[in-house]
Protein backbone atom coordinates (compact mmCIF):
# COMPACT_ATOMS: atom_id res chain seq x y z
CA UNK A 1 0.00 0.00 0.00
CA UNK A 2 1.38 3.37 -0.91
CA UNK A 3 1.45 5.77 2.02
CA UNK A 4 1.57 9.15 0.38
CA UNK A 5 1.00 11.14 3.55
CA UNK A 6 3.03 14.13 2.54
CA UNK A 7 1.60 14.80 -0.90
CA UNK A 8 -0.92 17.64 -1.06
CA UNK A 9 -3.01 15.89 -3.66
CA UNK A 10 -4.16 12.97 -1.52
CA UNK A 11 -7.89 12.37 -1.54
CA UNK A 12 -8.15 13.22 2.15
CA UNK A 13 -6.47 16.59 1.90
CA UNK A 14 -8.38 17.56 -1.21
CA UNK A 15 -11.61 16.54 0.53
CA UNK A 16 -10.75 18.65 3.56
CA UNK A 17 -9.93 21.67 1.43
CA UNK A 18 -13.30 21.67 -0.31
CA UNK A 19 -15.59 24.62 0.33
CA UNK A 20 -17.70 23.84 3.37
CA UNK A 21 -15.34 21.18 4.65
CA UNK A 22 -13.31 23.57 6.76
CA UNK A 23 -14.39 21.85 9.98
CA UNK A 24 -12.94 18.48 9.02
CA UNK A 25 -9.69 17.18 10.41
CA UNK A 26 -7.42 15.13 8.21
CA UNK A 27 -7.74 11.57 9.41
CA UNK A 28 -4.35 9.90 9.46
CA UNK A 29 -3.89 6.91 7.17
CA UNK A 30 -2.68 4.75 10.02
CA UNK A 31 -6.04 5.29 11.70
CA UNK A 32 -7.95 4.25 8.59
CA UNK A 33 -5.68 1.31 7.88
CA UNK A 34 -6.39 -0.15 11.31
CA UNK A 35 -9.36 -2.40 10.68
CA UNK A 36 -10.42 -2.17 14.29
CA UNK A 37 -11.27 1.50 13.81
CA UNK A 38 -13.60 0.64 10.96
CA UNK A 39 -15.61 -2.00 12.78
CA UNK A 40 -19.18 -2.06 11.57
CA UNK A 41 -18.77 0.48 8.81
CA UNK A 42 -18.99 -2.13 6.05
CA UNK A 43 -22.70 -2.41 6.60
CA UNK A 44 -23.28 1.34 6.65
CA UNK A 45 -21.55 2.29 3.43
CA UNK A 46 -22.28 1.06 -0.07
CA UNK A 47 -19.27 -0.02 -2.15
CA UNK A 48 -17.25 -0.02 1.01
CA UNK A 49 -14.08 -1.50 -0.42
CA UNK A 50 -13.92 0.85 -3.39
CA UNK A 51 -14.68 3.83 -1.16
CA UNK A 52 -11.93 2.86 1.24
CA UNK A 53 -9.48 2.51 -1.64
CA UNK A 54 -10.43 5.91 -2.91
CA UNK A 55 -9.88 7.50 0.50
CA UNK A 56 -6.47 5.88 0.79
CA UNK A 57 -5.57 6.70 -2.83
CA UNK A 58 -4.93 3.06 -3.54
CA UNK A 59 -5.04 2.10 -7.20
CA UNK A 60 -7.64 -0.57 -7.74
CA UNK A 61 -5.08 -3.29 -8.46
CA UNK A 62 -7.56 -6.07 -9.05
CA UNK A 63 -9.15 -4.21 -11.93
CA UNK A 64 -5.84 -3.87 -13.69
CA UNK A 65 -5.23 -7.54 -13.32
CA UNK A 66 -8.63 -8.23 -14.75
CA UNK A 67 -7.84 -6.00 -17.68
CA UNK A 68 -4.68 -7.91 -18.29
CA UNK A 69 -6.51 -11.17 -18.16
CA UNK A 70 -9.12 -9.89 -20.52
CA UNK A 71 -6.51 -8.77 -22.96
CA UNK A 72 -4.86 -12.11 -22.73
CA UNK A 73 -8.18 -13.75 -23.35
CA UNK A 74 -8.73 -11.62 -26.37
CA UNK A 75 -5.38 -12.52 -27.73
CA UNK A 76 -5.99 -16.16 -27.11
CA UNK A 77 -9.35 -16.35 -28.71
CA UNK A 78 -8.85 -15.08 -32.21
CA UNK A 79 -11.86 -13.95 -34.17
CA UNK A 80 -13.46 -12.33 -31.12
CA UNK A 81 -11.89 -9.01 -32.03
CA UNK A 82 -15.31 -7.40 -32.44
CA UNK A 83 -16.29 -8.36 -28.98
CA UNK A 84 -13.11 -7.06 -27.37
CA UNK A 85 -13.48 -3.30 -27.69
CA UNK A 86 -17.18 -3.52 -26.87
CA UNK A 87 -16.46 -5.33 -23.68
CA UNK A 88 -13.74 -2.89 -22.88
CA UNK A 89 -16.05 0.07 -23.45
CA UNK A 90 -18.64 -1.49 -21.23
CA UNK A 91 -16.02 -1.93 -18.60
CA UNK A 92 -14.98 1.70 -18.84
CA UNK A 93 -18.51 3.01 -18.71
CA UNK A 94 -19.10 0.99 -15.59
CA UNK A 95 -16.12 2.71 -14.02
CA UNK A 96 -17.33 6.14 -15.05
CA UNK A 97 -20.84 5.74 -13.72
CA UNK A 98 -19.59 4.12 -10.56
CA UNK A 99 -17.09 6.82 -9.92
CA UNK A 100 -19.70 9.26 -8.62
CA UNK A 101 -21.28 6.54 -6.50
CA UNK A 102 -17.92 5.59 -5.08
CA UNK A 103 -17.11 9.23 -4.53
CA UNK A 104 -20.22 9.79 -2.45
CA UNK A 105 -19.64 6.52 -0.62
CA UNK A 106 -16.11 7.61 0.09
CA UNK A 107 -17.38 10.90 1.54
CA UNK A 108 -19.84 9.06 3.74
CA UNK A 109 -17.20 6.58 4.85
CA UNK A 110 -14.70 9.33 5.53
CA UNK A 111 -17.29 11.18 7.57
CA UNK A 112 -18.04 8.14 9.69
CA UNK A 113 -14.36 7.43 10.22
CA UNK A 114 -13.93 11.10 11.04
CA UNK A 115 -16.59 10.87 13.74
CA UNK A 116 -14.48 8.19 15.44
CA UNK A 117 -11.14 9.75 14.64
CA UNK A 118 -11.81 13.08 16.33
CA UNK A 119 -12.57 11.24 19.54
CA UNK A 120 -9.22 9.45 19.41
CA UNK A 121 -6.11 10.90 20.99
CA UNK A 122 -4.51 11.97 17.72
CA UNK A 123 -7.77 13.29 16.32
CA UNK A 124 -8.78 15.38 19.27
CA UNK A 125 -5.29 16.86 19.33
CA UNK A 126 -5.63 17.86 15.71
CA UNK A 127 -9.05 19.34 16.38
CA UNK A 128 -7.67 21.32 19.29
CA UNK A 129 -5.12 22.84 16.94
CA UNK A 130 -7.92 23.79 14.58
CA UNK A 131 -9.87 25.14 17.54
CA UNK A 132 -6.99 27.32 18.60
CA UNK A 133 -6.81 28.73 15.11
CA UNK A 134 -10.49 29.55 15.27
CA UNK A 135 -11.51 27.32 12.36
CA UNK A 136 -14.90 26.61 13.83
CA UNK A 137 -16.11 30.17 14.27
CA UNK A 138 -17.43 31.93 17.34
CA UNK A 139 -20.61 31.90 19.38
CA UNK A 140 -23.23 34.33 18.05
CA UNK A 141 -24.55 35.03 21.54
CA UNK A 142 -23.70 38.56 22.63
CA UNK A 143 -22.79 37.65 26.21
CA UNK A 144 -20.46 34.87 25.14
CA UNK A 145 -18.03 37.48 23.82
CA UNK A 146 -16.95 35.59 20.73
CA UNK A 147 -16.13 32.35 22.50
CA UNK A 148 -14.90 29.88 19.95
CA UNK A 149 -17.26 27.02 19.20
CA UNK A 150 -16.83 23.33 18.43
CA UNK A 151 -18.52 21.42 15.61
CA UNK A 152 -20.94 18.78 16.86
CA UNK A 153 -23.71 16.61 15.55
CA UNK A 154 -27.04 16.16 17.25
CA UNK A 155 -27.11 12.57 16.11
CA UNK A 156 -24.55 9.86 15.41
CA UNK A 157 -26.61 8.49 12.54
CA UNK A 158 -25.88 10.04 9.14
CA UNK A 159 -28.61 11.83 7.26
CA UNK A 160 -30.51 13.10 10.28
CA UNK A 161 -29.20 16.59 10.87
CA UNK A 162 -26.50 18.95 9.70
CA UNK A 163 -23.46 20.02 11.66
CA UNK A 164 -24.03 22.45 14.56
CA UNK A 165 -21.74 24.54 16.67
CA UNK A 166 -21.42 23.90 20.38
CA UNK A 167 -20.45 26.86 22.52
CA UNK A 168 -18.59 25.78 25.66
CA UNK A 169 -19.34 29.14 27.22
CA UNK A 170 -23.13 28.84 27.25
CA UNK A 171 -23.37 25.06 26.68
CA UNK A 172 -25.80 25.59 23.85
CA UNK A 173 -25.78 24.66 20.18
CA UNK A 174 -26.11 27.02 17.23
CA UNK A 175 -26.59 26.83 13.51
CA UNK A 176 -23.38 27.72 11.63
CA UNK A 177 -23.71 31.24 10.19
CA UNK A 178 -22.64 30.26 6.70
CA UNK A 179 -25.12 28.28 4.67
CA UNK A 180 -22.37 26.20 3.06
CA UNK A 181 -22.18 24.20 6.29
CA UNK A 182 -25.81 23.29 5.98
CA UNK A 183 -24.85 20.50 3.61
CA UNK A 184 -22.38 18.93 6.04
CA UNK A 185 -23.78 16.00 7.97
CA UNK A 186 -23.69 16.35 11.75
CA UNK A 187 -23.00 12.64 12.17
CA UNK A 188 -19.53 13.23 10.69
CA UNK A 189 -18.70 14.98 13.94
CA UNK A 190 -20.97 13.10 16.28
CA UNK A 191 -22.55 13.88 19.59
CA UNK A 192 -19.56 12.97 21.67
CA UNK A 193 -16.83 15.21 20.37
CA UNK A 194 -17.93 18.53 21.89
CA UNK A 195 -18.26 17.30 25.45
CA UNK A 196 -15.25 15.02 25.19
CA UNK A 197 -13.14 17.94 24.04
CA UNK A 198 -13.91 19.87 27.21
CA UNK A 199 -13.13 16.85 29.35
CA UNK A 200 -9.89 16.19 27.48
CA UNK A 201 -8.63 19.75 27.74
CA UNK A 202 -9.88 21.02 31.08
CA UNK A 203 -7.12 23.63 31.22
CA UNK A 204 -8.38 25.57 28.25
CA UNK A 205 -9.17 29.11 29.18
CA UNK A 206 -12.57 29.34 27.57
CA UNK A 207 -13.25 32.88 28.65
CA UNK A 208 -10.44 34.10 26.47
CA UNK A 209 -11.33 34.56 22.86
CA UNK A 210 -9.52 34.77 19.57
CA UNK A 211 -5.88 34.09 18.87
CA UNK A 212 -4.64 35.11 22.28
CA UNK A 213 -5.96 31.87 23.75
CA UNK A 214 -3.44 29.88 21.73
CA UNK A 215 -0.85 30.28 24.45
CA UNK A 216 -3.22 29.60 27.31
CA UNK A 217 -2.86 25.84 27.29
CA UNK A 218 -1.13 24.30 30.27
CA UNK A 219 -0.85 27.69 31.88
CA UNK A 220 -3.41 27.31 34.63
CA UNK A 221 -2.23 26.03 37.95
CA UNK A 222 -3.53 22.84 39.44
CA UNK A 223 -4.10 24.54 42.77
CA UNK A 224 -7.66 25.32 41.78
CA UNK A 225 -10.04 22.64 42.95
CA UNK A 226 -12.17 20.98 40.32
CA UNK A 227 -15.93 20.83 40.65
CA UNK A 228 -17.60 17.90 38.97
CA UNK A 229 -14.51 17.25 36.92
CA UNK A 230 -14.16 20.77 35.56
CA UNK A 231 -12.35 23.88 36.69
CA UNK A 232 -14.93 26.29 38.07
CA UNK A 233 -13.89 29.02 35.65
CA UNK A 234 -14.62 26.71 32.76
CA UNK A 235 -18.10 25.71 33.81
CA UNK A 236 -20.23 27.76 31.45
CA UNK A 237 -18.24 31.01 31.82
CA UNK A 238 -20.76 32.83 29.64
CA UNK A 239 -23.65 32.24 32.00
CA UNK A 240 -24.71 33.62 35.35
CA UNK A 241 -25.13 37.02 36.90
CA UNK A 242 -24.48 39.94 34.54
CA UNK A 243 -24.42 37.53 31.61
CA UNK A 244 -28.19 37.26 31.39
CA UNK A 245 -30.02 39.63 29.10
CA UNK A 246 -32.50 41.77 31.01
CA UNK A 247 -35.22 43.39 28.91
CA UNK A 248 -35.95 46.98 29.85
CA UNK A 249 -38.45 49.56 28.69
CA UNK A 250 -37.14 53.11 29.01
CA UNK A 251 -34.76 51.92 31.68
CA UNK A 252 -37.30 49.97 33.71
CA UNK A 253 -36.95 46.23 33.90
CA UNK A 254 -39.87 44.25 32.50
CA UNK A 255 -41.60 42.34 35.28
CA UNK A 256 -41.62 38.59 35.32
CA UNK A 257 -45.37 38.78 35.96
CA UNK A 258 -46.06 40.55 32.66
CA UNK A 259 -47.32 38.40 29.79
CA UNK A 260 -44.28 39.42 27.81
CA UNK A 261 -42.00 39.22 30.83
CA UNK A 262 -38.78 37.26 30.95
CA UNK A 263 -39.31 33.51 31.31
CA UNK A 264 -36.13 32.04 29.93
CA UNK A 265 -33.52 33.53 32.20
CA UNK A 266 -32.93 30.17 33.86
CA UNK A 267 -31.41 29.00 30.61
CA UNK A 268 -28.57 31.49 31.00
CA UNK A 269 -28.37 31.33 34.76
CA UNK A 270 -25.64 29.86 36.90
CA UNK A 271 -25.19 29.87 40.68
CA UNK A 272 -22.87 32.57 41.96
CA UNK A 273 -21.14 29.97 44.03
CA UNK A 274 -20.47 26.92 41.93
CA UNK A 275 -19.91 24.81 45.04
CA UNK A 276 -23.69 24.41 45.06
CA UNK A 277 -23.32 22.22 42.00
CA UNK A 278 -21.12 19.76 43.81
CA UNK A 279 -24.17 17.76 44.72
CA UNK A 280 -22.46 14.69 46.02
CA UNK A 281 -20.29 16.64 48.39
CA UNK A 282 -23.16 18.80 49.55
CA UNK A 283 -25.26 15.79 50.19
CA UNK A 284 -22.51 14.14 52.14
CA UNK A 285 -22.05 17.25 54.27
CA UNK A 286 -25.72 17.67 54.82
CA UNK A 287 -26.16 14.05 55.57
CA UNK A 288 -23.51 14.21 58.24
CA UNK A 289 -25.04 17.35 59.66
CA UNK A 290 -28.46 15.77 59.75
CA UNK A 291 -27.28 12.73 61.57
CA UNK A 292 -25.55 14.96 64.10
CA UNK A 293 -28.24 17.50 64.62
CA UNK A 294 -31.27 18.41 62.54
CA UNK A 295 -31.04 22.14 63.27
CA UNK A 296 -27.52 22.52 62.06
CA UNK A 297 -28.28 21.75 58.50
CA UNK A 298 -28.58 25.30 57.18
CA UNK A 299 -25.48 26.51 58.86
CA UNK A 300 -23.02 26.74 56.02
CA UNK A 301 -25.71 27.02 53.43
CA UNK A 302 -27.63 30.24 53.77
CA UNK A 303 -24.61 32.35 52.99
CA UNK A 304 -23.88 30.50 49.78
CA UNK A 305 -27.42 30.22 48.50
CA UNK A 306 -28.69 32.57 45.87
CA UNK A 307 -32.36 33.56 45.82
CA UNK A 308 -32.55 31.01 48.63
CA UNK A 309 -32.55 28.27 46.06
CA UNK A 310 -29.86 26.24 47.67
CA UNK A 311 -32.04 25.11 50.51
CA UNK A 312 -34.87 24.35 48.22
CA UNK A 313 -32.55 22.60 45.88
CA UNK A 314 -31.14 20.48 48.61
CA UNK A 315 -34.59 19.63 49.75
CA UNK A 316 -35.34 18.50 46.24
CA UNK A 317 -32.35 16.23 46.35
CA UNK A 318 -33.42 14.96 49.73
CA UNK A 319 -36.87 14.15 48.40
CA UNK A 320 -35.35 12.43 45.46
CA UNK A 321 -33.18 10.44 47.75
CA UNK A 322 -36.14 9.51 49.85
CA UNK A 323 -38.34 8.59 46.96
CA UNK A 324 -36.43 6.75 44.40
CA UNK A 325 -33.13 5.30 43.70
CA UNK A 326 -29.87 5.01 45.43
CA UNK A 327 -27.97 6.99 42.85
CA UNK A 328 -27.26 9.85 45.18
CA UNK A 329 -26.33 7.50 47.94
CA UNK A 330 -23.67 5.95 45.80
CA UNK A 331 -22.36 9.38 44.92
CA UNK A 332 -22.41 10.40 48.52
CA UNK A 333 -20.45 7.40 49.54
CA UNK A 334 -17.91 8.10 46.86
CA UNK A 335 -17.53 11.67 47.97
CA UNK A 336 -17.59 10.69 51.59
CA UNK A 337 -14.62 8.47 51.20
CA UNK A 338 -12.77 11.31 49.56
CA UNK A 339 -13.53 13.79 52.29
Amino acid sequence: MSTSSGTPESWISSFCSLLGHEYFAEVSEEFIEDDFNLTGLQNQVAMYKEALEMILDVEPEEDEEEDDEEEEDEEDISGDARDGPGRERRHHSRVASDLSVIESSAEMLYGLIHQRFICSRAGIQQMSEKYELGHFGVCPRTNCNQTRTLPVGLSDIPGEDTVKLFCPSCLDVYVPPNSRFQTVDGAFFGRTFGALFLLTFPEYDLSRSGAEAASSLARTGEDQAMINGMYPKNIAPGLGRNKIYEPKIYGFRVSEVADSGPRMQWLRDKPDDLAILDEARNFAEEHDAESDDEDDDDEGMTNTGRHGTKRQYNSVIRQKQGRNGTAMEVDANGAGSEL
Binding site: R116, L198, I235, P247, V254, Q265
Partner: protein, 286 residues
Protein backbone atom coordinates in the same frame (compact mmCIF):
# COMPACT_ATOMS: atom_id res chain seq x y z
CA UNK B 1 -20.62 54.17 7.92
CA UNK B 2 -21.09 53.07 4.33
CA UNK B 3 -19.23 54.11 1.26
CA UNK B 4 -20.09 57.53 -0.02
CA UNK B 5 -19.83 56.71 -3.69
CA UNK B 6 -23.45 55.74 -4.01
CA UNK B 7 -24.76 58.67 -2.05
CA UNK B 8 -23.02 61.46 -3.86
CA UNK B 9 -24.60 60.52 -7.13
CA UNK B 10 -28.00 59.84 -5.63
CA UNK B 11 -30.65 61.83 -7.40
CA UNK B 12 -31.97 64.91 -5.63
CA UNK B 13 -35.43 64.27 -6.90
CA UNK B 14 -35.67 60.65 -5.77
CA UNK B 15 -37.02 60.15 -2.32
CA UNK B 16 -34.15 60.09 0.09
CA UNK B 17 -35.87 57.76 2.54
CA UNK B 18 -36.74 55.28 -0.20
CA UNK B 19 -33.16 55.26 -1.25
CA UNK B 20 -31.95 54.97 2.32
CA UNK B 21 -34.00 51.97 3.37
CA UNK B 22 -33.38 50.14 0.13
CA UNK B 23 -29.63 50.59 0.16
CA UNK B 24 -27.47 47.65 1.14
CA UNK B 25 -26.89 47.22 4.85
CA UNK B 26 -29.97 49.19 5.82
CA UNK B 27 -32.36 46.26 5.66
CA UNK B 28 -33.22 46.59 9.35
CA UNK B 29 -34.70 50.09 8.95
CA UNK B 30 -38.31 50.83 8.13
CA UNK B 31 -39.54 53.95 6.41
CA UNK B 32 -40.56 56.79 8.69
CA UNK B 33 -43.78 58.59 7.77
CA UNK B 34 -43.55 62.11 6.48
CA UNK B 35 -46.08 63.15 9.14
CA UNK B 36 -44.00 61.78 11.96
CA UNK B 37 -40.90 63.51 10.66
CA UNK B 38 -42.54 66.88 10.28
CA UNK B 39 -44.05 66.87 13.75
CA UNK B 40 -41.42 68.77 15.68
CA UNK B 41 -42.53 67.25 18.96
CA UNK B 42 -41.12 63.93 17.80
CA UNK B 43 -37.76 65.49 17.21
CA UNK B 44 -37.33 67.09 20.61
CA UNK B 45 -33.71 67.31 21.61
CA UNK B 46 -32.31 65.93 18.39
CA UNK B 47 -31.17 69.33 17.11
CA UNK B 48 -28.35 69.31 19.64
CA UNK B 49 -27.42 65.75 18.75
CA UNK B 50 -27.04 66.20 15.02
CA UNK B 51 -24.73 68.48 13.09
CA UNK B 52 -26.39 70.65 10.41
CA UNK B 53 -29.68 69.54 11.84
CA UNK B 54 -31.89 71.64 9.58
CA UNK B 55 -30.09 70.69 6.37
CA UNK B 56 -30.13 67.05 7.36
CA UNK B 57 -33.85 67.27 8.02
CA UNK B 58 -34.38 68.94 4.65
CA UNK B 59 -32.49 66.16 2.98
CA UNK B 60 -34.57 63.48 4.67
CA UNK B 61 -37.81 65.21 3.73
CA UNK B 62 -36.60 65.83 0.14
CA UNK B 63 -36.70 69.61 0.32
CA UNK B 64 -32.94 70.05 0.36
CA UNK B 65 -31.87 72.73 -2.09
CA UNK B 66 -28.67 74.12 -0.68
CA UNK B 67 -26.01 74.77 -3.25
CA UNK B 68 -22.82 73.44 -1.72
CA UNK B 69 -19.67 71.53 -2.54
CA UNK B 70 -19.38 67.75 -2.40
CA UNK B 71 -17.57 67.72 0.89
CA UNK B 72 -20.28 69.71 2.59
CA UNK B 73 -22.90 67.53 1.00
CA UNK B 74 -21.24 64.43 2.27
CA UNK B 75 -21.18 65.81 5.79
CA UNK B 76 -24.85 66.63 5.54
CA UNK B 77 -25.58 63.17 4.16
CA UNK B 78 -23.84 61.65 7.13
CA UNK B 79 -25.80 63.85 9.50
CA UNK B 80 -29.00 62.93 7.71
CA UNK B 81 -28.36 59.24 8.19
CA UNK B 82 -27.56 59.78 11.85
CA UNK B 83 -30.69 61.86 12.31
CA UNK B 84 -32.78 59.31 10.50
CA UNK B 85 -31.48 56.61 12.81
CA UNK B 86 -32.25 58.59 15.92
CA UNK B 87 -35.77 59.42 14.76
CA UNK B 88 -36.13 55.77 13.76
CA UNK B 89 -35.53 54.64 17.32
CA UNK B 90 -38.45 56.80 18.43
CA UNK B 91 -40.64 56.02 15.47
CA UNK B 92 -40.54 52.24 15.83
CA UNK B 93 -41.91 52.57 19.35
CA UNK B 94 -44.97 54.45 17.99
CA UNK B 95 -48.11 52.68 16.81
CA UNK B 96 -47.41 53.11 13.10
CA UNK B 97 -43.78 52.18 13.52
CA UNK B 98 -44.64 49.06 15.48
CA UNK B 99 -46.91 47.77 12.73
CA UNK B 100 -44.23 48.38 10.14
CA UNK B 101 -41.60 46.61 12.17
CA UNK B 102 -44.04 43.81 12.90
CA UNK B 103 -44.38 43.22 9.16
CA UNK B 104 -40.65 43.00 8.84
CA UNK B 105 -40.48 40.68 11.85
CA UNK B 106 -43.02 38.36 10.28
CA UNK B 107 -41.00 38.28 7.09
CA UNK B 108 -37.89 37.54 9.17
CA UNK B 109 -36.14 40.56 7.68
CA UNK B 110 -33.91 40.70 10.72
CA UNK B 111 -32.75 37.12 10.38
CA UNK B 112 -33.48 34.01 12.36
CA UNK B 113 -32.28 32.85 15.73
CA UNK B 114 -29.06 30.85 15.42
CA UNK B 115 -29.91 28.76 18.47
CA UNK B 116 -30.80 25.28 17.31
CA UNK B 117 -33.60 24.77 19.84
CA UNK B 118 -35.31 27.99 18.72
CA UNK B 119 -36.07 26.46 15.32
CA UNK B 120 -35.21 29.57 13.29
CA UNK B 121 -37.47 31.89 15.23
CA UNK B 122 -37.40 35.39 13.67
CA UNK B 123 -35.29 37.98 15.42
CA UNK B 124 -35.83 41.63 16.29
CA UNK B 125 -33.18 44.35 16.28
CA UNK B 126 -32.24 45.98 19.54
CA UNK B 127 -29.65 48.33 20.95
CA UNK B 128 -27.86 47.69 24.18
CA UNK B 129 -27.71 51.42 24.76
CA UNK B 130 -29.93 54.35 23.83
CA UNK B 131 -26.96 56.67 23.54
CA UNK B 132 -25.56 56.80 20.00
CA UNK B 133 -22.08 55.60 19.06
CA UNK B 134 -21.68 53.24 21.99
CA UNK B 135 -22.75 49.78 20.92
CA UNK B 136 -23.68 48.26 17.57
CA UNK B 137 -27.06 46.72 16.89
CA UNK B 138 -27.82 43.26 18.31
CA UNK B 139 -30.62 40.86 17.57
CA UNK B 140 -33.15 39.66 20.09
CA UNK B 141 -34.89 36.30 19.98
CA UNK B 142 -38.25 36.33 21.72
CA UNK B 143 -38.16 32.58 22.14
CA UNK B 144 -34.97 32.16 24.11
CA UNK B 145 -34.96 35.82 25.26
CA UNK B 146 -31.34 36.30 24.48
CA UNK B 147 -29.36 38.62 22.25
CA UNK B 148 -27.14 37.66 19.34
CA UNK B 149 -24.67 39.35 17.05
CA UNK B 150 -25.81 39.90 13.47
CA UNK B 151 -24.31 37.43 11.01
CA UNK B 152 -23.26 40.01 8.49
CA UNK B 153 -20.54 42.53 9.19
CA UNK B 154 -22.44 45.24 7.36
CA UNK B 155 -25.17 44.95 9.97
CA UNK B 156 -22.73 44.64 12.82
CA UNK B 157 -21.59 48.20 12.20
CA UNK B 158 -25.04 49.80 12.53
CA UNK B 159 -25.49 51.83 15.69
CA UNK B 160 -27.71 50.07 18.23
CA UNK B 161 -29.17 53.39 19.33
CA UNK B 162 -31.04 53.56 15.99
CA UNK B 163 -33.30 50.82 17.35
CA UNK B 164 -33.17 51.44 21.06
CA UNK B 165 -33.24 49.21 24.08
CA UNK B 166 -37.00 49.24 24.56
CA UNK B 167 -38.43 48.53 21.14
CA UNK B 168 -38.78 44.76 21.25
CA UNK B 169 -40.27 44.81 24.74
CA UNK B 170 -42.80 47.42 23.69
CA UNK B 171 -43.71 45.36 20.65
CA UNK B 172 -44.63 42.37 22.79
CA UNK B 173 -46.39 44.54 25.36
CA UNK B 174 -48.56 45.92 22.57
CA UNK B 175 -49.03 42.55 20.88
CA UNK B 176 -49.01 40.06 23.77
CA UNK B 177 -50.52 37.38 21.57
CA UNK B 178 -47.34 37.33 19.54
CA UNK B 179 -45.21 36.23 22.46
CA UNK B 180 -43.92 32.85 21.32
CA UNK B 181 -44.46 29.78 23.45
CA UNK B 182 -41.41 29.05 25.56
CA UNK B 183 -39.75 25.72 25.47
CA UNK B 184 -37.73 23.78 28.00
CA UNK B 185 -36.02 21.96 25.21
CA UNK B 186 -32.28 22.27 25.45
CA UNK B 187 -28.99 20.78 24.45
CA UNK B 188 -27.38 18.36 26.88
CA UNK B 189 -23.71 17.58 26.23
CA UNK B 190 -23.06 13.85 26.13
CA UNK B 191 -20.11 11.53 25.77
CA UNK B 192 -21.03 8.21 24.16
CA UNK B 193 -24.58 8.73 25.29
CA UNK B 194 -23.72 9.60 28.86
CA UNK B 195 -24.33 13.05 30.27
CA UNK B 196 -21.34 15.01 31.42
CA UNK B 197 -21.41 15.58 35.15
CA UNK B 198 -20.55 19.28 35.28
CA UNK B 199 -23.02 20.26 32.58
CA UNK B 200 -25.73 17.98 33.94
CA UNK B 201 -25.37 19.40 37.44
CA UNK B 202 -25.76 22.89 36.03
CA UNK B 203 -28.80 21.79 34.06
CA UNK B 204 -30.36 20.39 37.22
CA UNK B 205 -29.71 23.64 39.03
CA UNK B 206 -31.18 25.65 36.17
CA UNK B 207 -34.21 23.41 36.16
CA UNK B 208 -34.70 24.10 39.84
CA UNK B 209 -34.51 27.84 39.14
CA UNK B 210 -37.09 27.42 36.42
CA UNK B 211 -39.28 25.37 38.71
CA UNK B 212 -39.11 28.13 41.33
CA UNK B 213 -40.10 30.71 38.76
CA UNK B 214 -43.00 28.66 37.48
CA UNK B 215 -44.24 28.02 40.97
CA UNK B 216 -44.03 31.74 41.72
CA UNK B 217 -45.97 32.55 38.57
CA UNK B 218 -48.56 29.94 39.28
CA UNK B 219 -49.12 31.31 42.74
CA UNK B 220 -49.90 34.64 41.10
CA UNK B 221 -52.01 32.87 38.50
CA UNK B 222 -49.91 34.11 35.62
CA UNK B 223 -49.48 31.94 32.59
CA UNK B 224 -45.83 31.05 32.38
CA UNK B 225 -46.03 30.55 28.61
CA UNK B 226 -44.35 27.16 28.56
CA UNK B 227 -45.99 24.83 26.16
CA UNK B 228 -44.16 21.80 27.45
CA UNK B 229 -43.34 20.36 30.82
CA UNK B 230 -46.50 21.52 32.52
CA UNK B 231 -45.90 19.08 35.32
CA UNK B 232 -42.50 20.04 36.47
CA UNK B 233 -43.97 22.23 39.16
CA UNK B 234 -44.53 19.45 41.58
CA UNK B 235 -42.81 16.58 39.97
CA UNK B 236 -39.63 18.11 38.69
CA UNK B 237 -37.64 16.13 41.18
CA UNK B 238 -38.93 13.01 39.59
CA UNK B 239 -39.09 13.52 35.91
CA UNK B 240 -36.74 16.25 34.83
CA UNK B 241 -33.25 15.13 35.24
CA UNK B 242 -32.57 11.58 34.38
CA UNK B 243 -35.05 11.21 31.61
CA UNK B 244 -34.77 12.08 27.99
CA UNK B 245 -37.12 14.60 26.52
CA UNK B 246 -39.27 12.09 24.73
CA UNK B 247 -39.59 9.95 27.75
CA UNK B 248 -40.33 13.04 29.77
CA UNK B 249 -43.28 13.83 27.59
CA UNK B 250 -44.48 10.30 27.84
CA UNK B 251 -44.14 10.48 31.58
CA UNK B 252 -46.20 13.63 31.69
CA UNK B 253 -48.93 12.02 29.70
CA UNK B 254 -49.08 9.22 32.19
CA UNK B 255 -49.13 11.55 35.09
CA UNK B 256 -51.92 13.50 33.54
CA UNK B 257 -54.22 10.67 34.22
CA UNK B 258 -53.40 10.80 37.88
CA UNK B 259 -53.13 14.48 38.62
CA UNK B 260 -55.55 17.26 37.77
CA UNK B 261 -54.29 20.66 36.78
CA UNK B 262 -56.19 23.89 36.52
CA UNK B 263 -53.85 25.99 34.35
CA UNK B 264 -54.73 23.94 31.34
CA UNK B 265 -52.36 24.77 28.50
CA UNK B 266 -51.42 21.13 28.66
CA UNK B 267 -53.28 20.26 25.52
CA UNK B 268 -50.29 21.40 23.53
CA UNK B 269 -48.20 18.62 24.96
CA UNK B 270 -50.87 16.15 24.03
CA UNK B 271 -49.34 15.65 20.63
CA UNK B 272 -48.23 12.13 21.14
CA UNK B 273 -44.53 11.73 20.75
CA UNK B 274 -43.41 8.18 20.14
CA UNK B 275 -40.81 7.04 22.59
CA UNK B 276 -37.70 6.84 20.51
CA UNK B 277 -35.41 5.55 23.15
CA UNK B 278 -32.36 7.72 23.57
CA UNK B 279 -30.14 4.75 24.13
CA UNK B 280 -30.45 3.56 20.57
CA UNK B 281 -27.59 5.76 19.45
CA UNK B 282 -25.14 3.98 21.67
CA UNK B 283 -24.77 1.32 19.06
CA UNK B 284 -23.51 3.82 16.51
CA UNK B 285 -20.27 4.38 18.30
CA UNK B 286 -18.03 1.53 19.12
Amino acid sequence: MDDYGTESDSDYTSYWRDWFISSRGNEYFCEIDEEYLTDRFNLTGLNTEVQYYQYAMDLITDVFDLDCDDEMRETIEKSARHLYGLVHARYIASTRGLTKMLEKYKKADFGKCPRVMCNSHPLLPLGLSDIPNLKPVKLYCARCEDTYNPKSSRHASIDGAYFGTSFHSILFQVYPTLVPAKSQERYVPRVYGFKVHAAAALVRWQNSVRGDMRRRLRKMEVDSGFKDGEDDLEDEDEDEEEIDEEEELQMQLQQHQLVEYRGGATAATGALVPVAAGDAQMGGVA
